[in-house]
């Protein structure tokens, strides 16, 4: 379904019909559905249903539409859809679902427009539809020549779509999809014209900086703003309003707001001023379910991770008596709209959410805290307020990936291959769902693709700080532990990591994927070779890593099967990004808590990978033709496990957690 006016029936791949009459807007303008607008001046505008956070979803939408409209991406103009899931269908960007969910609606919307234009031309010429075809923004006929779309807009608008047959362009005739296209935002990005949330400039804008709790769970007791000058307002943020609590300083510029914040004096109470992440890890280790283990065992301790997108949290809100407008980077435009409407006690129609470009998200921009801060501040001063988090705020007040402790055990056969497995885990739920049942954690996390029967048992302890979605969510922990353990069993058996896994895969879709990656990166003298796999999001991925004698990765080959590759450069980019996330988290980045507070405060101490740590990465697309699967998170868990296993093989010591090269927690 793509919305009220473009409601689709029979939305299978192939032939589709469109129901509900589609009225034209005005003479010379035509909206065949909610995603497209064509005008008699030749303009074609695509409304991009989902927000961009670097995953390339705007570009894929543009390619899908250009393909089916028989135009080039460069012929399209773009509008970002406001948050309105009633009109645009699902808009959230998470769970690696965007392209999966968007492909049929966007292709169908564009194909419908094309078929109506072709039908309009055929009627004008008085020839059968089958003798006409669309190409380069015009409908062509062997004898009659061509009619530009611009000249057909009014005729097409008058045709009832229910009376025509809509066909999709079959893959062998694709010109755009599967081709070399780059990001539609690339020019704007390299010239500095790209507008992110932090770049929003609306008339009368005010900027807010927020003084935040100095330790986890601390509540504001007293605040003294007598030393604060040059600001417009100081606003207490009540934790009951959906924010974490604090004091907002609102000024006419960012520098003034930050200066004002620095001059505040506040006292705090409650919370957990003595919290320590090492103790949390010990508590989790003690809570790991403890049935009788098999002969081979290993335990893995995983840390807290912050999202740390390059663009810190921010949102701009203008709350008026009759509603509100928000501009911000968001992974959930419709959800944020609903929550703001509920908070303000207004109908959702009174709240407009304009998603901006987003400087990374990785799960963080599903949260509502930064949005509600802007709403509360704007309501307090009656003007548009942009809340800007500092990097310190962003790093120390995140919704972190939960810590976890995993005990793996296996019974092996004569050649060292596992025949029974057990995976016992202790971790925390996500804060959005504190009562999360262990079965749900298992469903998200346990993606074991090998033919080894076994049990997964999960103990959940209450989370001692805010936790949230982090790229791949629980699979980032579970698959890492499973694959590191498989790597350890192969190491003990002195078996090749690729062959070892191929013998355990059965008839899996992963088999050709792993074989392709292994074929591309053969074992070499003086190097170790490790591998890991993931079967998730409707896609398959194998990572093969080569490392030198110190365990430093020198080369990574990834093979992925997403069914059909729509945007090759984007596919490679997502895998490259996952590999770098894996390099970062396996070799150093973690969040620690001491004396109740997160220690790390910027990229100086949250040790994210730098360019000199980036290995050569090659990505192979192994299209099986299966239904289109997700990709954005897929490669992170196996990449992390393969990197850790290669490190372990090179150094002759087992992996005991993440990161591998320093104490965890």
């Amino acid at each position: 379904m793509i919305g009220r006016r473009g409601f689709l029936v029979g939305a299978g791949v192939g032939v589709l019909a469109v129901s509900v009459p589609l009225p034209a807007l005005a003479a010379g303008e035509w909206e065949p559905n909610v995603l497209l607008r064509l005008d008699s001046a030749g303009g074609i505008t695509l409304t991009l249903p989902r927000p961009e956070t670097g995953q390339g979803v705007r570009t894929v939408a543009a390619m899908l539409a250009a393909e089916e409209l028989a135009v080039d991406v460069a012929d399209l103009r773009f509008v970002q859809a406001p948050g309105d899931t009633q009109r645009y269908g699902p808009q959230s960007i998470g769970g690696s679902r965007s392209v999966q969910q968007m492909t049929v609606p966007v292709r169908t919307a564009a194909a419908t427009a094309r078929c109506l234009l072709v039908a309009a031309a055929a009627r004008r010429w008085g020839v059968p539809v089958e003798t006409c075809h669309a190409r380069d923004g015009a409908v062509h006929h062997r004898r009659h020549g061509r009619l530009r779309y611009a000249d057909l807009v009014d005729d097409a608008a008058a045709i009832d779509p229910a009376t025509i047959e809509v066909t999709l362009i079959p893959r062998p005739r694709w010109r755009v999809l599967g081709g070399r296209g780059g990001r539609i935002d690339a020019r704007d990005i390299v010239t500095g014209r790209a507008r992110y949330g932090i770049d929003v400039r609306v008339p009368d804008r005010r900027v807010a900086a927020v003084l935040r709790p100095p330790w986890i769970g601390a509540r504001l007791d007293t605040v003294d703003d007598s030393a604060v000058t040059g600001v417009e307002a100081v606003v207490r943020l009540d934790p009951a309003t959906g924010v974490q609590g604090g004091v907002a300083v609102i000024a006419t510029s960012t520098a003034a707001a930050l200066r004002g914040r620095a001059a505040l004096r506040a006292t705090w109470t409650g919370g957990t001023p003595n919290a320590d992440s090492r103790a949390w890890l010990d508590q989790l280790a003690a809570a790991v379910p403890a049935p009788e283990p098999f002969a081979h065992t290993a335990t893995y301790r995983l840390p807290l991770l912050a999202h740390a997108p390059m663009e810190p949290m921010n949102a701009t809100a203008h709350v008026r008596p009759d509603g509100a407008t928000l501009w911000m980077p968001t992974q959930d435009p419709g959800g944020h709209r609903d929550r703001v409407a509920a908070f303000l006690g207004v109908d959702r129609a009174a709240v407009r959410v304009e998603p901006t470009l987003s400087g990374g998200a990785f799960g963080r921009r599903f949260e509502t805290d930064f949005v509600m801060e802007a709403v509360v501040c704007s309501r307090a001063v009656g003007k548009p307020v942009q809340v800007v988090w500092t990097r310190d705020d962003d790093t120390r007040h995140d919704s972190y990936r939960p810590m976890s402790v995993h005990r793996l055990s296996a019974e092996v056969d004569g050649s060292g291959l596992p025949v029974r497995r057990a995976h016992d885990v202790a971790t925390w739920p996500l804060s959005i769902f504190p009562a999360m049942p262990p079965d749900l954690v298992r469903l998200i996390g346990d993606q074991f693709p090998y033919t080894v029967p076994g049990d997964v048992r999960i103990a959940l302890l209450p989370a001692p700080l805010r936790t949230g979605f982090w790229r791949a969510v629980y699979a980032g922990q579970f698959v890492y532990a499973e694959e590191c353990f498989l790597g350890e069993l192969a190491r003990r058996a002195r078996a090749d990591q690729v062959d070892f896994r191929l013998r355990l895969l059965g008839e899996s879709r992963l088999r050709p994927v792993l074989a392709a990656a292994g074929e591309r990166l053969r074992p070499r003298r003086g190097r170790v070779r490790a591998a890991a796999c993931a079967l998730d999001y409707g896609s398959a991925c194998a990572i093969v890593v080569e490392a030198d004698r110190t365990g430093t990765p020198t080369r990574v080959v990834a093979a992925v099967d997403v069914g059909t590759t729509l945007h090759p450069s984007g596919l490679r980019a997502q895998v490259e990004g996952c590999v770098l996330d894996a390099v970062s988290t396996v070799f150093g980045a973690q969040v620690t808590v001491r004396d109740g507070a997160v220690v790390e405060s910027s990229f100086r101490d949250y040790a994210w990978a730098r360019i000199d740590q980036a290995p050569d990465i090659e990505v192979l697309a192994v299209d099986s033709g299966a239904p289109i699967g997700g990709l954005g998170e897929l490669a992170y868990p196996p990449a992390a496990a393969a990197l850790a296993t290669a490190w372990s093989m090179a150094r002759g010591e087992p992996v005991t957690g993440m990161p591998v090269n320093r104490p965890v927690g």
Binding site: G54, A186, V190, A194, M310, E311, L357, G360, F603, I611
Partner: protein
Amino acid sequence: MYRLRVNGRDSALDVPGDTPLLWALRDDLGLTGVKYGCGVGACGACTSLVDGQAARPCVRTVEECADSDVTTIEGLGGDHPVQRAWVDLDVAQCGYCQPGQIMAAVALLAEDPDPDDAAIDRALRDNVCRCGTYPRIRAAVRRAARIARGGVA
């Protein structure tokens, strides 16, 4: 009142002297291509040229930069070899760090017109990309060097 030359134009800034140059550029001069990433000189997202050298406006005050010549991403012209290479190789993911990466690359190529990977890694080591575009950045810097030499059509 402080006077700076920004992207070839004389600019007057009526802000306290200890204002970080970053916020003056973004809030007072509207140059939002200069990105805020950390405010402590640790990520490189705001990298710009001050008197021809790569600098971090988040840790420079307006007073320190008075009478300086500042070039931000907006002042690069749009057709600079580094910008072209970045588009050619589809480097950006979220794109937020890329103005800083590009300005650091511009400064590198001004010093070393044909850097090898080790030189690229050294020059860009303190520019963080959270999306993992580093392999493409390396390739794009090499390509930009070729474009600048007239080696790419």
